[in-house]
């Protein structure tokens, strides 16, 4: 593995390898050890062409716990906001000796562009590209589900996960559908028809417009953030109506199986896709997702950076 651009690039063995590594690392994280020497002398650049404080600090904490040097290159005040091209930015990073670039970008495919061209030689980690993918989020979600519901086996065979909300514009949904299916879980996407992409038929999942009919059967429900601008773009009449049909409130929560998990990649719109009561309930693993994020991102950095770069074999 040279880059992490899309979950589609992972096979089952590689995905489980990352999750297993994250499991060991989380054990270390839970102990007293705050820093490991593993990536000493390696440079990780956080290239954030789009604001995302939570993902950036998660990667930053992960890299620092492995003793990598971290350089933050964020949109505001940087040359990106002044119209510098991705190519020039990449060549700058190359000149600075970046061993890995964690890229968040508003353009779908930006991470792949960075990896496919000869602009720089380091590993590229996709930290969210447009409405395409967000593989590290999917890995931390799978990690969280596995920790709670994994039945001793390494995969998620037999589990049923609902992903609810703006599927059309969600990179989290795209990565999660691929990874959950790879790990053997059944996935049902729940959304109004306007927020499901045309051409979804080939996705390895089921689709439903009816939240209430799906809820009683799932082991985890993943709520997606609804962007305010979707309302002005005619995707649904108004926030109230959206919330009535697709919001997870206390009443709906009661129809879930007793052990079912409630997840959200954040940041949440409390009162829109998820009610405060649900977000703060005992079934909610939303804050745990954040802490698991660091272990999973450490695992990603470890897998991509710790070994020799000449390796082309599997992990």
């Amino acid at each position: 593995m040279k880059h992490l651009l899309s979950i589609a690039d992972l096979n089952l063995q590689e995905a489980i390898g990352i999750l297993d590594t994250a499991t060991e690392l989380s054990r270390i994280n839970d102990g007293q050890i705050k820093k490991l020497p593993t990536l000493r002398g390696r440079t990780v650049v956080n290239l954030f062409a789009e604001d995302s404080t939570r993902t950036r600090i998660s990667f930053e904490a992960a890299a620092k716990r492995l003793s990598a040097d971290v350089i933050n290159f964020s949109a505001k005040g940087s040359s990106i906001s002044k119209g510098e091209s991705l190519k020039d930015t990449a060549m700058t990073l190359q000149a600075m000796g970046a061993d890995a670039v964690v890229i968040r970008h508003s353009a779908s495919g930006a991470a792949q562009r960075l990896a496919d061209n000869q602009w720089m030689s380091g590993a590229v980690i996709n930290a969210g590209d447009g409405t395409h993918e967000h593989p590290s989020q999917a890995l931390l979600d799978a990690f969280t589900i596995r920790k709670h519901l994994g039945k001793g086996s390494s995969d998620l065979q037999g589990l049923h996960v609902a992903i609810v909300g703006d599927i059309l514009h969600s990179r989290v949904a795209r990565s999660n559908v691929l990874l959950l299916a790879l790990l053997g879980a059944k996935v049902t996407l729940v959304a109004p028809p306007t927020l499901l992409p045309i051409g979804i038929k080939k996705w390895p999942c089921a689709v439903s417009y009816d939240f209430d009919s799906v809820l009683p059967y799932v082991d985890a429900v993943m709520m997606l953030r609804v962007q305010q601008e979707r309302m002005t773009e005619l995707f649904f009449p108004n926030a109230r109506e959206y919330s009535r049909y697709y919001g997870l409130n206390a009443e709906r929560m009661r129809t879930l199986k007793p052990a079912a998990l409630i997840m959200h990649p954040g940041p949440m719109n409390r009162g829109l896709e998820i009610s405060a009561e649900v977000a703060d309930s005992a079934r909610s693993v939303i804050t745990e997702q954040v802490s698991n994020g660091v272990s999973v991102r450490m695992a990603i950095l470890y897998v991509l950076l710790a070994g020799s770069s000449l390796d082309v074999g599997s992990f």
Binding site: G17, D20, T21, E24, L25, R27, I28, G31, Q32, I33, K35, L36, P37, T38, L66, Y302, V303, L304, A306, G307, S308, S309, D311, G313, F315
Partner: protein
């Protein structure tokens, strides 16, 4: 290929090492055993078991993975991280005995000392190995040795254990020429 330790030899060596550990540390009260995965972890369990039989009490035993502390990570494909399991009683102020199968360059043990430093501050750290084959690259020496095995650099020493390989055996063989 040459069998240098049979199953019986290994068993005898581990029994002797167990006795030596108890002798050196005046009993087991302050001892914690940590095996270095993969084979060292199994040897540690065996030693702890033998010691427990002799002493009639449980011996704290765990594993210490050194992968994240290796100095040769970049020379090879990334390795899977093995569990680090520190016994309930911890290692703070304890006499910690590290156990590994083969002592060679000493780099593994250096990494283990680093890894141990992240976990806590033992009173002493001792080292037990099944085989010491020489060729040290660092100033490290074992306190307890199953067998000293002079070898040349073009030979390789392979330890098989029942738990992983289905039988107990140590063989020495010439490396395949590339």
């Amino acid at each position: 290929m040459n069998v240098v330790l049979s199953a019986e030899d290994i068993s005898r060596a581990l029994t002797r090492i167990s006795h030596e550990i108890l002798e050196r540390n005046h009993g087991s009260t302050n001892v914690a055993i940590l095996g270095i995965p993969t084979r060292g972890a199994h040897l540690a369990l065996r030693v702890a078991e033998i010691m427990a039989k002799i002493e009639g009490t449980n011996i704290p035993c765990g594993t210490l993975d050194i992968t994240l502390h290796r100095d040769d990570l970049r020379l090879r494909p990334p390795r899977a991280i093995m569990p680090t399991l520190i016994p309930q009683s911890g290692i703070e102020g304890r006499d910690v005995v590290l156990i590994d199968d083969v002592l060679f360059s000493g780099r593994t043990i250096r990494s283990a000392l680093d890894a141990l430093g992240e976990v806590g501050r033992p009173k002493t750290v001792q080292l037990a190995v099944l085989v010491d084959r020489g060729h040290r690259e660092l100033p490290i020496k074992a306190d307890f040795v199953g067998k000293n095995l002079p070898s040349s650099l073009d030979q390789s020493v392979r330890v098989s254990l029942t738990e992983i390989d289905g039988r107990d055996e140590v063989v020495i063989e010439s490396r395949k020429q590339p």
